[in-house]
């Protein structure tokens, strides 16, 4: 317990913001997906840090259960997102998010 809670939260916030910058600024769709995975990881660190330091009733392991659900959802989302990227590449020969603008005005 000699690593205080605020350190974990700071690292998680930094990871989230780096992931956010990547998701908004990268050109390649797969790079955007990688940045989204970083954001989900930072959420997991937050969950576990709060469970470890703040939760009184630890026997239900709520932090770990929630983190497992988040990992599951991240895996499902990565699978579908990458399938979409591959289908996009097959049809348009590009995974550049700048080129996928049919629905723009």
């Amino acid at each position: 317990m000699d690593v205080p809670l605020s350190w974990y939260l700071l690292v998680a916030a930094a990871l989230f913001c780096i992931g956010l910058a990547g998701a908004l600024s990268r050109r390649n769709a797969i790079a955007v997906l990688m940045s989204v995975e970083l954001m989900l990881n930072s959420v997991n660190i937050n969950l576990l840090a709060f469970w470890r330091h703040v939760e009184v009733v630890k026997a239900t392991l709520s932090g770990q259960a929630f983190a497992i659900i988040v990992i599951t959802v991240a895996a499902a989302e990565a699978a579908v997102g990458l399938a979409l990227a591959i289908a996009l590449y097959r049809n348009r020969r590009t995974v550049d998010v700048e080129d996928v603008d049919l629905m723009k005005l």
Binding site: L48, H53, K58, Q64, A83
Partner: protein
């Protein structure tokens, strides 16, 4: 500076360095490897937080499956390894500003709040308790079952979307 704090700093260098590598690397394969480094760093955090089962699950699922999926997708969508354009799109200035502002706001909040602490110990038989809490109707059986249905739907959907016509 206790040993845990030194280990924490090393792990955060790995996790944040990997994250910076994902965002700033020009070669897409190198950013995938930086992502793997970041995942391993985060798994180290879980071990520090006394959640070893979750650290192993993190490595198994993220490094062993998601990172491989990402690498396969990168390999299947390469256009003969050409990178004429910069890897950033047109709105990268706004993205960086948003990220920095958000980080400043979060740090401002996090440092000022007086977090409540509870010194309760992590139970020694955490693994069996986790199993019970995931299937007990008093606790988390509903998100667990919904997550398994979600996985099935995502699996079928991904296979159908990525199928060759």
């Amino acid at each position: 500076m206790t040993v845990s704090q030194v280990v924490f700093i090393l792990l955060s260098i790995a996790a944040l360095g990997g994250a910076l590598g994902v965002v700033f690397a020009r070669n897409l394969f190198r950013s995938a490897l930086a992502l793997v480094l970041s995942f391993v760093g985060v798994a180290g955090f879980y071990v520090l937080l006394e959640a070893e089962l979750l650290a192993m699950i993190q490595i198994l699922v993220y490094v062993g499956a998601i990172a491989i999926l990402i690498i396969f997708a990168i390999m299947l969508s390469r256009r003969l390894m050409s990178s004429e354009t910069l890897p950033w799109n047109e709105q990268w200035v706004g993205a960086v500003i948003v990220a920095v502002v958000l980080f400043a706001a979060l740090v401002f909040v996090l440092i000022r709040v007086d977090w409540p602490t509870a010194e309760a110990q992590v139970p020694p038989d955490a693994i069996s308790l986790l199993g019970q809490s995931l299937v007990s109707p008093d606790f988390y059986v509903l998100p667990f079952e919904v997550a398994s249905v979600l996985l099935l739907v995502a699996l079928v959907g991904a296979v159908i979307i990525a199928r060759e016509q």
